[in-house]
Symmetry: C2
Subunit: 233 residues, 2 copies
């Protein structure tokens, strides 16, 4: 963890580190637009007006995160569109491979997929400068608004116990796809890969051992989320 | 037009008028959620990251309008879900009958459809109390962010002149469907219909002659929007 005091955004970063941080912010910023789109589509599918507006509100939160990240990319001297573009195929491919067949699968995907993505971004933010870490922590949210989703999913499973098995499979597929796309994303850009895995520079990065510990924490938190939905992980 | 001074929201309204105003706010509030959904879907279809985020931003604006209207419905003592529910079928039917076959049709629909809807709401707001009229004026926006849409449509038509004919037909179909659904909406609830057409009470409403003038103004503004897109109305 870096503890340096600083006066302006990113002033503690070397050029190569700054490049990696901007790439990381680009990933998260495109992920937020992507999350906006998914939640808006879930909102469209909902017949319940209360759930519909709650999901639309969550989509709006994702867009606010996007704007926060885009602003910080500019503060670091980066171009937001350039920073996001390399990661478009990975996200679009993830979403194409995990297109929900209905609202219920969409809700599980929003909760499980966004949950593991936010955890991942928070873990990786340990390796960036203080300001960027604070921005990422804010963008990764605390998931309070997800209560609406958890309630809706649990209610539907209570009403029809046969939903639990297929939804548990769905949750496992989501996390498998998320982890494999996550590896692609991490390896997509050199500076980002160096940021995460560490180089000979002052900022250490994760290293392979720490990477294993991160994966374990991601998996544990995922299992807790599955349990909250009433699904076996 | 009402000129009464007032101390709290809706204090100048009789019970029946208040009912009509809440119904009108319910129409516009559901229209805003509906607009949010459409613009988010257009954002999803856009391959251009700049246009994609601009459309997402416009969707977010629609949600902000929705929240503004819902707050005012509550201030008037209404239940927002109850106020919106009667109008769900008319909006959903309009959108089902005018499902865009691609981004370009979606953009024309957003500009032409939202344009005529906002004009209509502003016209009708002449018959409500001052506070509600101010809220409706704010929610009906001034369309500044639509520049992005106008530019994108014009650019595509310039690149392929053959698009202009089918898009002009599409614009005419949209306005036809919007007007016929608008009549259904206006007639859906008694208090709302009284608000618009006037009763023997102090607040006069439009009357049939004024209604004709309103339709003429809506049509004129529609033709100006078509012209701005480079389409014949």
């Amino acid at each position: 963890m870096s503890e340096e005091p600083s006066t302006k955004p990113g002033s503690t970063l070397g050029d190569r580190e700054r490049e990696g941080v901007i790439e990381l912010l680009g990933v998260i910023a495109y992920g937020a637009i992507s999350g906006f789109t998914r939640l808006a589509a879930d909102s469209e599918l909902s017949k319940d007006l209360g759930l519909k507006t709650a999901l639309a509100g969550m989509a709006v939160d994702e867009f606010a995160k996007h704007e926060l990240l885009v602003t910080h990319i500019r503060e670091l001297g980066g171009d937001p569109m350039e920073a996001m573009t390399p990661f478009v195929p990975a996200f679009d491919s993830f979403h194409a491979r995990t297109a929900p067949r209905g609202l219920l699968e969409g809700l599980v995907k929003a909760y499980i997929g966004d949950g593991i993505a936010n955890d991942f971004f928070r873990e990786i933010s340990a390796f960036v400068d203080d300001e960027s870490r604070a921005i990422i922590a804010q963008a990764a949210g605390d998931g309070r608004r997800t209560e609406v989703i958890v309630d809706a999913v649990r209610r539907q499973i209570r009403a029809d116990r046969h939903l639990a098995g297929p939804l548990a499979l769905w949750g496992r597929r989501l996390v498998g796809e998320a982890l494999s796309q996550g590896q692609l994303v991490a390896g997509e850009r050199d500076a980002l890969a160096e940021l995460i895995l560490g180089t000979s520079h002052s900022r250490p990065g994760a290293g392979l051992e720490e990477m294993g510990a991160i994966m374990q924490r991601l998996t544990d938190a995922h299992q807790q989320r599955m349990a909250r939905l009433g699904l076996s992980a």
